[in-house]
């Protein structure tokens, strides 16, 4: 009996992934009809590449550049010099000269290593956009009061496009040369409150979240599967007890409970959080699976198996489980989205470990350090916001496409 159970379990363990893989192929072959699902699937692949493969090639930018704070999206540091001194190309050329930098635009941090050899003239970055600080520095540059200035490419463009003073523009166009485009790497997504490149954080910040959500989803699905099918197949007192337990856990609001637990226990490990999310997340799925097993139990092929005198575990593993694989798969994906929702919610509140610099932690800092409320710095919050949002949307699109591709009767039975 025991050996048979083990054999059946082995069978299930072998066939479920096969079923999932087979189902995925079936699904892919029907994708022409479901463009949204295809987009979701491609999106998930892209996320896999982004979070699991790209970190191997793109190093995490942990170098704190306190002055390169909240650099605008898509900009790099550039050197502006007077047209008469167009030969100035590198930092070495600047030795002994006076260089203007505007704080919060990144210049000072780049110049820091050369601080001994260069005279630094600081300008205050006073307003949000096309600030007078930058303009003042440029005016000084045209008047040769300073010899060069370091500036973000984006700010330069804005100053040049600023049409309210054509005279000034003409002056700039005549006297200022933006040279040496290689200075500083371009910040695709700008820089954060410590002057670090946000794009590298996005690349590195997803893996742990996705793993945690995956663990949470697996645990919730497994518990739901075991409880749900036991409840439906054994019935009687066990069914009543499990159903009562489920209803009780369902009545406790999951997310606030997590918030309370996280607030009191203070996790130090994201994966532990994933386990906890899984332990709290099974009840809705358990109900659905119980209903599903109950309805499958009444189907002809299961009736037939039972009338042949086949054992309960044969019926469960050979007849019912394979027929539920797609249904379980879909619900598994949805439980991943819930786990993602919950852990990032905790992170936003600052109740989850912030040692790993994830998208959630970026959100937390974006909010707590106020860059969220700063137009130029919003990228620090907006980038992870979009990363999370699109990940969740891809999951939902994919799950819904699966729902449509697989047996529609399963959907009706929920």
């Amino acid at each position: 009996m025991k050996a048979q159970t083990a054999q059946n379990l082995l069978y299930a363990i072998l066939t479920i992934p096969l079923g999932v893989v087979g189902g995925t192929f079936k699904f892919l072959s029907r994708l022409r009809a479901n463009r949204a699902g295809f987009i979701g699937f491609l999106g998930l692949l892209a996320y896999f590449v982004l979070t699991f493969i790209m970190p191997g090639f793109i190093p995490f930018d942990s170098e704190v550049n306190l002055d390169e704070i909240a650099g605008p999206v898509g900009s790099r540091i550039q050197l502006a010099v007077h047209a008469d001194n167009a030969e100035l190309q590198t930092f070495e050329d600047l030795a002994g000269l006076t260089v203007g930098v505007v704080d919060q635009t990144g210049g000072p941090s780049l110049i820091a290593p050369y601080a001994d050899s260069i005279n630094i003239e600081k300008y205050r970055w006073t307003s949000r956009r096309a600030g007078p600080g930058i303009r003042a520095a440029l005016v000084d540059l045209t008047n040769k009061e300073i010899d060069a200035m370091l500036i973000f490419s984006k700010n330069v463009e804005e100053i040049r496009a600023d049409a309210d003073d054509p005279e000034l523009q003409a002056l700039f166009a005549e006297h200022i040369v933006i040279s040496n485009p290689e200075l500083g790497p371009p910040h695709l997504l700008g820089t954060d409150t410590q002057g670090r490149d946000i794009a590298t954080h996005i690349v590195h910040g997803g893996r742990i979240l996705i793993l945690t959500a995956f663990i949470g989803g697996v645990i919730a699905t497994l518990i739901a599967l075991v409880f749900g099918s036991l409840s439906a197949l054994v019935g009687g007192a066990l069914d009543s007890a499990l159903t009562a337990l489920t209803n009780l856990v369902l009545a406790i609001p999951r997310f606030p409970l997590l918030v309370v637990l996280a607030g009191l226990i203070r996790f130090d490990n994201m994966l532990f959080l994933g386990v906890l999310i899984g332990l709290l997340g099974w009840p809705p799925l358990m109900r659905a699976i119980r209903a599903q097993v109950l309805s499958l139990r009444e189907r002809d092929f299961v009736e037939a198996a039972r009338s042949l005198g086949l054992s309960t575990n044969h019926i469960m593993f050979r007849e019912i489980l394979p027929n539920m694989a797609s249904y379980v798969m879909i619900n598994f994906i949805f439980s991943i989205t819930f786990a993602m929702y919950e852990q990032i919610g905790l992170l936003v509140l600052g109740l989850a470990p912030i040692d790993d610099y994830t998208w959630g932690v970026m959100l937390y800092f974006g909010r707590s350090r106020g860059t969220l409320y700063n137009e130029d710095g919003a990228s620090m919050a907006l980038s992870p916001v979009l990363a999370i949002a699109f990940f969740q949307v891809c999951l939902v699109l994919f799950a819904r496409a699966l729902e449509e591709v697989f047996d529609p009767r399963l959907r009706a039975a929920v």
């Binding site: 009545a251 609001p253 918030v259 607030g263 137009e375 919003a378 949307v393």
Partner: protein, 367 residues
Amino acid sequence: MTSHSGDIQLDTSGATGPVHAVQRLLTKYPIHKNYNVRVFVQAILTIWAIMSFTFVLVRFMPGNPVDILIEQILTQEGISYQEAYDRVAASFNIDPNASMLDQYLDWFTDLLRLDLGTSITSPGTRVVDEIARFLPWTLFAVGSGLLISFVLGIVLGMMMAYYRDSVLDHTLSLISSFFTGVPNYIWGLLIIIGPGISWRWFDVGAARGTYDPGLTPGLNAAFIASVCEHALLPIITYVLATLGGWMLSMKSSTTSVLNDDYVNVAEARGLKDRRIITSYVGRNAALPLFTQLSISVGFVLGSGVVIEEIFVYWGFGHYLFASIVVRDYTAIQGAVLVLTTAIVLSNLFADLTYGLLDPRVRISGEK
């Protein structure tokens, strides 16, 4: 029914205890078979179970809040263990000298009298008063958000079903996937970053709190306008985050109703389109959504913790979070109990009103 009464007769021959009296009464008036009664009793039992669970958690668990607090007070204030214990026990409504059963009963009767103890971090403040102060704001925001999205979702979902496989349907279902997939706090952040910061449609800072300072609460226009203004962002967030679910449910529900014979017959009967859409299609298709509405009340109330933090809206979620941050255990306990009760009650409400909406449940007592 017949077999049941047979059982009772076997059991009660000659017996006179209260249990048997109850059994006899139930045989005579089978109220336990009544749907409403069953649902009601179930709700009461759930609330009771969760209250007891909380009691056990606070009182017996290793590392329970009582022990932790005593430890804290001992290290901070250097008073005797007994003094510290008494103070903590008083906050939790626990009489340390009574037997466990008496403690439990005391604590329970206090709960029934809506006495949730006093705050630990601000002594003298009754938790129940604090909750009563914060909860209405959340109920207002969550309630109106859910109501708007429910109505909107029903309308849009029906449109999707009526124009199935059209461009409109595909667009709306893509949008609904976005609405469902994107977490509600992400919507909140997007609202702040987009319309709030980049486009400056409103002043993010001014939207904090539940109403503008300096206004007298009451039924005056300025106050009501201010309340709505402050609740607007949370409401929009709740709407965005829940709309997709309603749209999709309503679409699938309407699609199945449209295939039902009675809709076809209603058209053949020459009924006016409006009548068919409202009373024949809409009403039947919306029925299953009411159960979902009750479930989502709980979910949305719970998710209010993050939303209210993001918008600095001083409602129940804000209170819960603030209590957690300062580890005000009695406040947390009270908040969780109230939240759970609210969820159970909203489920109960849905179950009871479902009978009014669907005559089939009213008669048979089964869903």
